[in-house]
């Protein structure tokens, strides 16, 4: 089962695929490739999302073992729950660069995939991103989630771009004016204005709060006039000596600021001036060649122009704060959360998976192992087997332990609970929420209009105002029927940020 199609960057390791397969279904092409070597195996390929309702518990029950090669936490948790519900052994695995891991999950015998928390993805406080970056990744997050989103994304989304520490009020009406392009405004003028505002003015404002910079390096404001040479300030950045003059060509296959400026090597470090040119050129190209997308764009690492813009913006900000700049190649990896990968580690882990799978099929449960692949030997070992861990008795997934949620029941909207807790935190796909006998929320194809309206209305209510009021001391039940997971949550009321 795989919902993806084949991409060029897969071919360095996914050796069942060839260049001619780019764009086709991974599941289908893999099946065909394997049949060439072992024609007698029965292989069914599903070009589908493993979270799809067709893969329910009954489907999973048909198998003797499940092997996971997924690339996201959400899907892994989902499959984990289905395997537990179906009583089917699950072999989990993952690789990144030279590191790898294989684990076997057997209901009641070993830990399940969710028994012990996985290392949390890195998070950054808002003020680090908006005011006090100290690492390049902070600049990338700023450029991608704030500036790019503000300029090209959904205008109705909250955006902290102008948050300033010495002024509690958001920049209110003024900020919207800054980022809105006036009808007759020249693109060059607009881009200069934006550049000066985010790299110049905002920095000056931040500098005015002495307290912030007592123990930190002061950033330097950067204005376009300081960075561009005189001719560049007045004329086009793209000169006639550039062979790939993107601005005058009719729709090129891929619109690119780098190409227009003659910057060929994504591994090269650009100067502040070059980054600024890329910034202006990319902004111009978005507004001229892709204007219909402006207002709804989401950053995509495979969108060359978006990557160029984010790289340039992040680098200029980095320069301002004395943080080393990075190449487009590096910036793309950070902004796009690209997992680096090689054929060898994958081959090793694949071999380890099969060894465990064979043990499962032979019911040789005593010898099951978790195996770590190290980059450097630990106690002489590059491949390190350990005994599988026992189930965590406090695991809410395999041991059905109740949870506790502290929430301000008089102020928190039910919608936030559904999105941030039920779906994101608890990993439920098709949730159902009950308070006693009262159904507060559910999703499904078979709901009638009235019920859907009720649930929608509930989402906008705060906990205490729900038809079946939820206050401190209440217990609610959250379920996902497909995952066959039921969870009891004890609610504790907590008034936060009290004054």
């Amino acid at each position: 089962v795989d919902m993806d199609t084949i991409e060029v960057s897969n071919l360095n390791r996914q050796f069942l695929f060839r260049k001619s397969h780019v764009g086709q279904s991974k599941a289908k092409v893999a099946r065909d490739a394997v049949l060439k070597v072992r024609p007698d195996i029965s292989i069914t390929a599903y070009h589908a999302n493993v979270k799809s309702p067709e893969f329910n518990v009954d489907f999973f029950k048909e198998f003797n073992v499940v092997l996971n090669g997924l690339d996201n936490l959400d899907a892994r948790r989902h499959v984990n729950r289905l395997c537990l519900a179906a009583g089917v052994p699950l072999i989990e695995s993952g690789t990144t660069g030279f590191l790898g891991q294989v684990a076997v999950h057997l209901k009641d015998r070993t830990e399940c995939y969710e028994c012990y928390p996985k290392p949390a993805p890195k998070t950054y406080p808002v003020c680090t991103i908006t005011s006090t970056p100290s690492k390049f990744v902070h600049c990338i997050v700023w450029a991608k989630d704030l500036l790019f989103a503000k300029l090209f994304g959904d205008k109705n989304q909250d955006n902290d771009l102008n948050v300033r520490s010495n002024d509690g009020a958001s920049s209110s009406e003024n900020s919207d004016d800054v980022f809105e392009r006036r009808n007759d405004e020249d693109i060059k003028c607009f881009s200069r204005r934006i550049y000066d505002h985010v790299f110049g003015y905002n920095i000056e404002m931040a500098l005015s709060n002495e307290e912030t910079w007592k123990n930190r390096t002061r950033p330097k404001p950067i204005y376009a006039r300081d960075v561009l040479s005189d001719s560049q300030k007045n004329g086009d950045l793209v000169t006639s000596d550039n062979p790939d003059n993107g601005s005058t060509d009719s729709d090129s296959v891929s619109v690119s600021a780098m190409a227009a400026l003659g910057l060929k090597n994504p591994q090269e470090l650009w100067s502040l001036e070059e980054n600024s040119k890329v910034f202006f050129e990319a902004l111009k190209l978005f507004l001229v060649k892709r204007v219909e997308e402006v207002g709804s764009l989401i950053f995509d690492k495979d969108d060359q122009l978006a990557v160029e813009f984010v790289t340039a913006a992040a680098n200029i900000r980095a320069a301002s704060f004395g943080i080393p700049m990075h190449s487009l190649f590096e910036a793309k990896g950070i902004a796009g959360n690209i997992i680096h990968a090689v054929a060898t580690t994958n081959a090793i882990v694949a071999g380890l998976i099969v060894i465990e799978a064979i043990k499962v099929l032979r019911q040789d449960f005593e010898n099951l192992r978790m195996t770590y692949c190290n980059e450097h030997p630990k106690r002489k070992m590059l491949l390190m087997p350990v005994e599988p861990f026992e189930p965590n008795k406090a695991c809410f997934v395999c041991s059905k332990t109740p949870l506790t949620l502290e929430v301000d029941t008089s102020r928190t909207k039910f919608r936030e609970f559904i999105e941030k807790i039920v779906r994101a935190k608890l990993g439920m796909n098709l949730p159902l929420v009950m308070h006693g006998l009262s159904l507060l929320y559910e999703v499904g194809d078979d709901l009638d209009e009235d019920m859907i309206r009720n649930y929608e209305a509930n989402l906008d209510k705060v906990f205490s105002e729900l038809p079946s009021s939820i206050t401190g001391g209440t217990m609610i039940t959250v379920e996902d029927l497909q995952q066959e997971l039921s969870c009891n949550i004890n609610i504790k009321h907590r008034c936060l940020f009290s004054y």
Binding site: N12, G168, L383, V407, D408, E416
Partner: protein, 410 residues
Amino acid sequence: MVVMGGGCGGVCVCCRGGRWRQRRKVSDRSGGGGYGSWPAVVLVSGGGGSGIKRFKYLICLLPSSFNFTYSFLFAYPNSIPHHFAMTIDGEALTEQETALYDRQIRVWGADAQRRLSKAHVLIGGMKGTVAEFCKNIVLAGVGSVTLVDDSPVTEESLNANFLIPPDAKLYTGRSVAEICCDSLKDFNPMVDVSVAKGELSSFDADFYEKFDVVVVSCCSLSIKKVINEKCRKLSKQIPFYSIDCRDSCGEIFADLQVHSCTKKHADEAVECCLQYPSFAEAIAVPWKTLPKRVSKLYLAIRVLEKFEDVEGRRPGDTSAADLPAVLKLRNELCEAQSFGESQIPDSLIGRLVSNSLEFPPVCAIIGGILGQEVIKAISRKGEPMKNFFYFDAMDGKGVIEDISTPTPTS
């Protein structure tokens, strides 16, 4: 809503200045009830109120593809920063290479990739494990791969060599090397894959001079030594490897002679230089002076190797019927070395003698490890293994053993 990760250390200096309030570090809170070790999630009301800006949300660099590896993944920097890596001649990778090799360039850098593209690898003896190894280095983008194996394709060849299509019409009359060559070309058109006919041990120095790495498999003891010596005699120091799988275990031997490289040490690139013994020197190390708790596979394989050599057998050509004779040889060898027989268990010898066929998942594992090692040797990036590697599916351990005459302390 706030999911607080304590990033500000509890008190945000920049958030002072009047209107902002102290945030408590939520990670101090213990989870309620029996909710294991996950912190309770604290909800805060959204905006509103008296125009006081609240701390709205943390921006997460949430990977859309978050991989399941242990926690030091996040401390693992992407090898040595590219702009500090050694530059050889400044030529950029082609656009095609950059697109195809993107994910691995992020592991070892563009310079290493360039070195790979100029490397020529010679490989002799093509069973399942070597098929895996070849696949790995071809995908990695080496300059060229030259295959040597004139043996005809048989049904047994199909056991673990996935490069051979199971169609007698296609493989009859062709050598193993020829068939594998055709398949391998497909994996990466940028790699030059070819066949050299003849016996590896009969090629002269001029022939070997063309290569940057030599890998042999299914090679007798004497031939191994001969080829290793050829690599050592040339002025160009050619790394030599031997690799074999029997049943569900495998061995890799590496002789990189004198090898300089860079390795990572606490975020910095450090130069290092290693010295390797030849195969003959390594196996001459008295068993009594071997590292404590050395892998028993080392010893068992030496016994089998000797048996095949003495009996004039092709490597791997043993069966259960040979067990008594092999055990006898083991005893003789142990006695000569004043070494306990029990150190080389009967069961292990029995297993290797009776089941000489390769086990495919082990081929993948050993072929993967060797692929990584050869890439390190060519790129001179990362500390190569010294000098034996063992994997045994029975205990699941993949171990490096340093079997070399200790350098005299001055």
